[in-house]
Amino acid sequence: MFVKYINRISQFLRQLKWRIDERLLLIVIASVVGSFGGLAGVILNRTLTLVTHALHPMRAHWGSFLLPALGAGMSALFLGYILREGAGHGVPEVIYSVTKRSGLLRFRSSFSRLISSTLTIASGGSAGPEAPVVMSGASIGSNIAKKAGLNDRQRIVIVGCGAASAIASIFNAPIAGMIFGVEVILGEWATVNLVPMAIASVMGAEVSRLLAGNQIAFEHQPFAAGLTDIVACVGLGILAGLGSVVFTRLLNGVAKKSKALVSSDVTRAAVGGACVGLMGLYLPYVLGEGYDVVRTVMENNFHSGLLLVLIATVAKTVATSITIGSGGSGGIFAPCLVIGSLGGLTYHRALSTLWPSLPLGQEGLFALLGMSAVLSGVLQAPLTGIFLIVEVTGSYDVVLPLILVSAISAILAHYLEPISFYHKGLAARGQLLRPRTDDSLLADLSVLELIERDTVTVRESMCLGDMIPLIKNTTQHHFPVEDSKGEYRGLIRLDDIRPHLFNPGLHSAVILGELMHLEKVQISPFDDLKAVLAKMEEMQISVLPVIHRNRILGMITKEAILDRYRKELAVLSC
C-alpha cells in the first residue's frame, strides 16, 4: 500500500521533471521528503512514549535490569539477522552514503532503525532517537529521489533534506534541522542545498506540530544571562570541550574493547544492556533517551546535591558509551543533551559552592549552555548546537553566551580530537570525502577515465635504430616495452636514450630490452588516483603504464591528470 503510494508520487514527479526548473523540482521533492521525515520523527516519538509507558510497571521489580539487555539484544538480532543491516546508530552511515555512494540508501533503512532503536531505548538503553530518525528520513529521501530519477548531486541534497526534516521534526526546530543537514550531513554550504533543506525542515517541523502540538521536546522558558554568566561560560566551554573528547574516546574505546571481548553481536548488545540496567537500578536517570531529565534540570527542579549531579553526569556518559559501544541501536544526540544539561548544572553548583557571592544566573541557564557546548564538542558542529538550543528553548536572550560556549567547546574538542565522532569510523577507513576537497575530486576520477589508449609500444627485441621513426612520428616521450608474447616488460624513457640516439654505431648494436627501465613500476586500471599520484611522486616520474593481466592498456600522465582535475573542479559549481 505504502510502496504503491510512493510509486504513484514518483511517477508524477518523473513526469514533472523535464518540464520544470531544477530548483523548483528540488523544492517540490524536498517538501514531500520533509513531510515523510517529519512523520518518521513523530512515529518514533509516539512509539517510544507508548512502549516506555507500557514497560513502566516492570521497572519496580529487581529483575528490571534485564530489560535493557533484552531490548538491546533483540535490536541487535533484528538488525543483524532479520534485516541484515550493520549495527551503528545511523548518522555515519548516512554521511558515508552521501560521500561515497552518492546518496544511495536501502529502502529498509527507512524503518529498520526506528524499530531497533525503539527496542533499545524504550527498554532502558541510554541512547537517543534522533540518529535513527535521521537515517530513516535520509533513506526516505534517497528512495524518493531514486524513484524520481534525480541525478547524484540532486539525490544527495534530498538525502540531506530527509536528515534535516528528521531533526526539525523531533525538536520542532526547523533552523537547527537545516543547519544539521548542511553542517553534519552534507558538509557543504551552497545556496542550491540550503533552500530545499529549509523547505524540508519546515515541512518536517510542521508535520510534527500538526500531529504532536507545538511543544515537542522542551517547554519554552525565559532565561536571562548577565555579564557574570558570560564570563563564567568560558570555563564551562573548556570543561565541556574536554568532556566531549572524553565522551568520544569512551564511546570508541568501549566499542573496540567490547568487540574484542564478545564476538557475537547479540550477546554483546545484551551484556551492554544488562550493565546499563544495573546502573539504572541505582541511578534511574541514566536510562532511556533522557528528555525528562533535561526537562527537570531546565525547570530548576533537579534537587539532588552537587556530588550526586556530578555522579549522574559521569554515569550518563558511561551508560551511553556502553549502550552504543556494545551495539545497541540509537544516537548520541539526546545523550549529549542530557550530559550537557547535567554537566552545566554541576558547573553551576560547583561555582556557587566555591564562590557563594557570585551573582550567577539560574541553574537552567547553565544546563542550556552545557547542552549546546557538549553537542558542539561531540558533533564538532557548533552552529547545530547553538541553533538547536535557541530554537527548542526559545531563548534568544542567551545567544551570546551560547555562541561563546559552543565555539570554545568545538574548538577545544577539534584541537584534541581533530575528527568528530560521526566521522571517525569513516576517516579511519579513508572514506571521509567531504565535498570540494582534493580527496573527493580524486575519488571521482578513475584510472579508466584518464588512460590514454593510443600508446605506441615497442618490442624488447627491437634495435635502437628502429626507435628513430617512432620518435619522429609520435609525440610520446615514454614507450612501453612488450615481449614477444605481448606481455609488459618495462618502460623506455626518451630522456634516457637521447644521448645514444645520435650515435649510429649503437643503432643496431643495442636492443631495447637492454635500455628499458622501471620494470616494476606499473598501475592497475582499478587503482585509485591518490595512489597513482603518490607512486608518481615517489618515482619522480610523470607517466605510468596501466597494466592489466600483464598486458599494457595504455598510459596515464600527470599532464592528463592536471587537465582533468581542473575540469572536474570547474564543473563542481553547477
Partner: protein
C-alpha cells in the same frame, strides 16, 4: 542543435565514460529522451563558458586541414612563379627587384616583405652555397599568404651574396609560408633536392618555368616513393 554524447566528448576532449559519470552526478546539463540522453548545443556552450571550459571548435580543424594540404613543393613552385633577367650589383638591389617582380598575392605588403628579407639577411646570409640563396622573412608575415609559395629568380649576372662557400649566387628561391611548420617542411624538401648536383646543373641552364615545374614535380614524386 542536439548533440549526442559522442559529439560532446569530442567537443570537450573528454572520454565518454567521464561524461557518463557527469551525467549521472548531474554535473552537466542533459536531457533525457526515449532513446537515451542528448545535449543542447547552445546551452552546453553557455555552460562551458561559465566554467572556463574550452570547447574545441570545428573551425580550427578545417584550418589545420588546409595547412597540411599546402606542403606540396610543386604547388608552392607553381604559386610562386619564376622571375628572369634580374640584374643588380647588391643583395638589397636584387631583393628589391625580386620583391617587386614576384607574382605575390595582392594583399601582401611588398615594402614590409622587403624590409623583413633584409632584416633576415642582416642576421645571417641565406646563401646556402653552390650559387643558391633562399631569401625568406624570419617569421611568417602578419598578413601572409594562406598557401606557401616559392618564387624562383634567375640572375643574369651572379651576385656576391656572402654565402657559406663564397660562390656567387645565380639563383634565388623566395619562400613565403603561412607558418613556421610549413616553412620548415618546404625548406626541408627544397634543400634535399638542392643536394643533387644534377639539379644545380639544370638550374644553371636557367630553364623555362614549365620545365622547372616538371622537374620539381618529378623529383617530388620520386622522393615520395622512396620515403613514403
Amino acid at each position: 542543435m542536439d548533440l549526442t554524447i559522442h559529439e560532446v566528448s569530442r567537443l570537450l576532449r573528454l572520454p565518454v565514460n567521464t561524461l557518463e559519470r557527469w551525467v549521472r552526478q548531474g554535473k552537466i546539463p542533459v536531457y533525457k529522451s526515449r532513446d537515451g540522453y542528448f545535449f543542447i548545443e547552445r546551452e552546453l556552450r553557455r555552460w562551458a563558458q561559465a566554467r572556463g571550459l574550452v570547447l574545441s571548435s570545428s573551425e580550427t580543424h578545417t584550418s589545420h586541414h588546409k595547412e597540411s594540404l599546402g606542403d606540396s613543393l610543386t604547388a608552392a613552385f607553381k604559386k610562386g612563379g619564376v622571375v628572369y633577367q634580374v640584374e643588380d650589383d647588391t643583395v638589397s638591389g636584387v631583393l628589391r627587384t625580386l620583391v617587386d617582380a614576384a607574382p605575390l598575392d595582392d594583399f601582401i605588403n611588398r615594402d614590409e616583405l622587403f624590409q623583413k628579407l633584409i632584416e633576415r639577411e642582416d642576421l645571417s646570409s641565406t646563401g646556402i652555397g653552390k650559387g643558391v640563396a633562399i631569401p625568406h622573412p624570419r617569421s611568417p608575415l602578419d598578413n601572409g599568404p594562406v598557401e606557401p609559395g616559392v618564387t624562383t629568380c634567375f640572375l643574369d649576372t651572379p651576385v656576391e651574396y656572402g654565402g657559406i662557400d663564397g660562390v656567387t649566387v645565380f639563383v634565388l628561391f623566395l619562400i613565403l609560408t603561412p607558418s613556421t611548420r610549413v616553412h620548415l617542411s618546404i625548406l626541408g624538401k627544397l634543400s634535399h633536392f638542392l643536394r643533387d648536383p644534377s639539379f644545380i646543373e639544370f638550374l644553371g641552364k636557367r630553364p623555362a618555368a614549365d620545365e622547372l615545374l616538371a622537374r620539381v614535380e618529378a623529383m617530388e614524386l620520386e622522393s615520395e616513393q622512396t620515403h613514403p
